[in-house]
């Protein structure tokens, strides 16, 4: 038997829910499942609301911590649901999946850029101190006093002096930079983009641009030296390549995405600073970052010269027999020119094609970044090669998008 109140409920009820209009009923006549301490609202609705709220917070936190893994997990659920409901092979589902994958790349990218930027802000002060200390140590090495205890002590004191707001990096400047980062680039602003269903990849790219602009101003300001620019650009180049990898594999950008042209993607990649703080610190301290950033099919890449030396034959044999060690040789360095990948490493590319390799590791180089060995950008290095007299002599300067045809092998005795 279900009891009822003697006094009518102060809540007047919902016309769409007939049972709620009976003002003498408690908990929809289901007191075992529901309870209502206020008398107006079933707790189970609160529970659902709280679950959704907590779940959303968890989702955001999870996305922030590991965007790729979160999206991969979500993809697994969507794919499973699509399979179970039998829509996985419909064109509509494929189209949605296609768009989704590309948007995901932008989200992952933007998240990592933001995290890297914040990391940069956090590490700038310490990096500056370590950089100066590193420079002093190098000088000491040159004078043969690196191991001298007084010298070591002096270096450490100098480092501490800078860290605590010394002469080389006044604390106010360092703090100003950090504040600038926190204002310009912050997670909540990023969330607006991530969670806004109307935000296009273009929006995300533009957001990255603002992040990069801040970083590009902050880094040289903080360090105040040309050496810093040099190292910073290298760090950004490394970071950019990581981003290029993310864009390449996650977002694909294989077909033209409505809102983002290749040039916009290139700009975004060129400006990417994911993990710049970490890479920057590593660069200054002589460390190294990963240099293998993705894979391409060998026949997707064009050549940047008309001749190669005969060592390519040995390379081909080694690749065909599976003994080529890419970790020792490093990836092929490729640059996008007129929509076409062009390699800076022609012998290995040619060998990979002739050995029938399905894919090769590549580093996507940023045209505006400094070449690691040469006093010029990658763009300039490629152009120097394109217009090398030896290329011109046997067929003319290399076209902007490179050569699809393989280079000629030079004879050993020439």
């Amino acid at each position: 038997m279900i009891a009822s109140f003697l006094i009518k409920d102060t809540y007047s009820g919902d016309p769409s829910d007939p049972l709620s209009l009976n003002l003498y009923v408690y908990c929809f006549n289901n007191p075992i499942t529901y309870y209502d301490p206020s008398g107006h609202w079933p707790q189970w609705l609160d529970n659902i609301g709280n679950t959704i709220r907590d779940g959303t917070i968890d989702l955001i936190q999870s996305f922030w911590n590991d965007p790729e893994e979160t999206l991969n997990t979500a993809n697994d659920y969507v794919s499973l649901a699509a399979f179970v409901t039998g829509v996985d092979d419909t064109q509509t589902y494929q189209d949605m999946k296609y768009i989704g994958v590309r948007v995901e790349g932008g989200l992952v990218n933007a998240t990592n850029v933001t995290k890297g930027t914040i990391k940069l802000a956090e590490t700038t002060g310490e990096v500056g101190a370590n950089f100066v200390a590193h420079t002093i140590v190098s000088t000491g090495e040159a004078f043969g006093i690196k191991g001298n205890q007084k010298f070591i002590q002096a270096v450490e004191e100098k480092r501490k002096e800078i860290l605590t707001g010394g002469k080389a990096l006044p604390k106010a400047i360092g703090q100003g930079i950090v504040d600038d980062f926190k204002t310009t680039i912050n997670p909540s602003k990023a969330y607006d983009y991530f969670l806004n269903p109307n935000a296009s990849l273009h929006d995300v790219a533009e957001y990255q641009m603002s992040a990069i602009n801040t970083a590009m101003i902050a880094v040289p300001t903080a360090q105040g030296a040309t050496a810093v620019v040099k190292y910073g650009v290298r760090a950004i180049e490394k970071a950019t390549a990581i981003l290029a990898d993310r864009f390449g594999t996650q977002a694909a950008f294989a077909g033209g995405y409505g809102n983002v042209s290749w040039s916009a993607v290139d700009r975004a990649m060129a400006s990417g600073i994911e993990n710049t703080g970490v890479s920057f610190a590593k660069s200054l301290q002589g460390g190294s970052s990963a240099r293998t950033f993705g894979t391409l099919k060998p026949n997707e890449i064009n050549f940047s010269q008309r001749t190669v030396s005969g060592t390519v034959l040995q390379y081909t044999q080694d690749m065909a027999s599976g003994i080529w060690d890419w970790s020792r040789s490093g990836p092929l360095r490729v640059m996008k020119r007129d929509g076409q990948w062009v390699s800076y490493d022609n012998r290995r590319l040619m060998a990979a094609q002739n050995a029938g390799l399905e894919s090769v590791p590549v580093q996507f180089v940023n045209p505006a970044a400094l070449h690691p060995e040469l006093p010029m950008t990658w763009e300039q290095a490629f152009l120097k090669r394109f217009f090398d007299k030896r290329n011109i002599r046997i067929g003319g300067a290399i076209p902007s998008s490179g050569l699809n045809a393989q280079p000629n092998i030079l004879p050993a005795r020439r």
């Binding site: 800076y344 007299k389 050993a412 020439r414």
Partner: protein, 149 residues
């Protein structure tokens, strides 16, 4: 029209002739071939040529190069410059006299790969390329070149 090759001027312009061997200020070129056999790379001395004749017949190019570094030979009286060209396999060594800053000789190879480091030990220059190879040049007889590991 006769051509007068000027090694000092070319080097000041960051250019070198693609000799695949050793070039001297007097216009001599001694060819040095890099032969690959069974995973070993060996040096083979070739013929002697006149660079002015090669230039007049347009059989040789003078190309831009990039210096990656230099080392002071201290008691040997030389400065050794090393670096790369702009095709993937290029590498060069240039030996400059400290007495008058003139160039004593220049080595350029299209398949040595870039030389990234060098050191002077006695009468020898040891140059290290980015393949991990160590090349030995005799300062006073540079055609006596070998890959020592």
């Amino acid at each position: 029209m006769s051509i007068k090759f000027d090694l000092d001027k070319e080097w000041k312009d960051s250019s070198l002739p693609v000799v695949n061997g050793i070039a001297y200020p007097d216009g001599r070129v001694e060819k040095v071939y890099v032969i690959s056999e069974d995973r070993e790379r060996k040096i083979e001395i070739g013929e002697e040529l006149d660079i002015n004749a090669l230039l007049s017949k347009e059989e040789i190019d003078i190309v831009e190069v990039a210096e990656l570094g230099q080392v002071d030979g201290l008691n040997s009286g030389i400065i050794v410059h090393y670096g790369m060209g702009f095709m993937g396999g290029d590498g060069f060594i240039v030996v400059e006299s400290k007495a008058d800053s003139s160039i004593k000789w220049a080595a350029f190879f299209e398949d040595s790969n870039p030389f990234e480091r060098a050191e002077v030990v006695g009468d020898a220059i040891y140059a290290y390329n980015n393949l991990g190879e160590k090349w030995r040049f005799d300062i006073n007889n540079p055609v006596d070149v070998s890959i020592v590991n």
